[in-house]
Amino acid sequence: MKVTQEFTDIQQMDLLNKTLDMKNAGYRLAQICASRDTAGCFVLLYTFEKDGCLVSLRFINGGEPIESIGWLYGYAFLYENEMKDLFGMKVINMNMDFGGRFYQTAQPAPFTCGKNEGAEMDG
């Protein structure tokens, strides 16, 4: 079976419509990945899967709230709470919001620190 990977850049305001398209096309939500770019903005990658094909929607977030996709994919709350707890992002209208207590971390939003910040890990 042929497996493909596709990365598509979108605008944040198109997220819900594009996600709805994926849902209607029979894709499942495979993961949501957050990261920081060099400018300090968040980079979001929403990945969907169907028949071995991975389609990822990518957009840049400057810190403004992101609308939850939980009404389309009920289990998105896992990833959205992770985004909140590890990256300190704002996600609104979540179907299950743990209020920052999904991950019990020693420091808030630990994944936002730069490469040379935070606890020393390997000397």
Partner: protein, 359 residues
Amino acid sequence: MGKRTVMPFGPQHPVLPEPIHLDLVLEDEIVKEAVPSIGFVHRGLEKLVEKKDFMEYVYVAERICGICSFMHGMGYCMAVEQVMGIEVPKRAVFLRTVWAELSRVHSHLLWMGLMADAIGFESLFMHSWRLREYVLDMFDMTTGGRVIFSACKIGGVRRDIDAEKMKRFLDALGKVEDGLHEIAGTFAADHSISHRLTGLGVLTKAEAEDLGALGPVARASGIGFDARTHGYAAYGDLKVNVQTEQSGDCMARASVRIRELYEAIRLIRLCAEIMPDGPTETKVTGNPNGESFARLEQPRGEVLYYVKGGGGKFLERMRCRTPTFANLPALLEMLKGAELADVPVLILTIDPCISCTER
């Protein structure tokens, strides 16, 4: 309506080999809702990728989990190899598949023991883990390690299995299969087991799809999804028979795992039969520049690796979405309406790996 009580379950509990916390909202002894929280042993290994050379990070990836450690290393290597356009020698790909399937045997035997222990069947627990011990010896025989053996590297594998060792390896596999007949028969036919597992924690196919269930949890509900059928590693040369059940209860999940044990043994034998001769690694030059996903079918379900490199020796991002993390919504659904006494069995039925979840 009875009085509602919130009972904390975990992070330390006899049935939990690793720490996860659930707040169980009970009405009398019936679970009305379960609220999870994780992070008690969160290690931030995804973040660590920014400080570790991408070649060295294989050792870290293997330490995400002590049960499917080889598959974590393999998934990370596959993702980096795809970014760098590295073609792994065919023999190395087959060797990876052998160890990956042996990891599945290890994991499912461990799960059988834990489940037997949870329902109070101590002799079955001991027999399951006795067999698992043979599997660890097989890892030791072929890699020099029993739990974390660093056999996988970017570009191939560090160890080869010569003909003489492969013969001993297959002999040992035959002994594991013989032992498996006994415990699998007990699991399938013993009244006390079926009494505890049948009809418990039913997850319908529609619910499993809506909740994003993966692995044996999904397959026990009739979803024939198995990432191996997409042909990564040597699976393109092997025909994987996906094991499914329809009833979606704890017994169905046990049945799927038991049949997957036999399927894993069959695949290992097939790999040994058709494995080509040749080199086991390719020289790696340069640094990863680009992004890619790799998907593997771990014992608990599909794991997704995403790596992104910018041309330096440190990756910019590594993402590991593990199957236990994805199966949490299914677990929460199963717990609703369950009796408190069944909670340990229901938690174990998704075969949770908190170490993977707390990557």
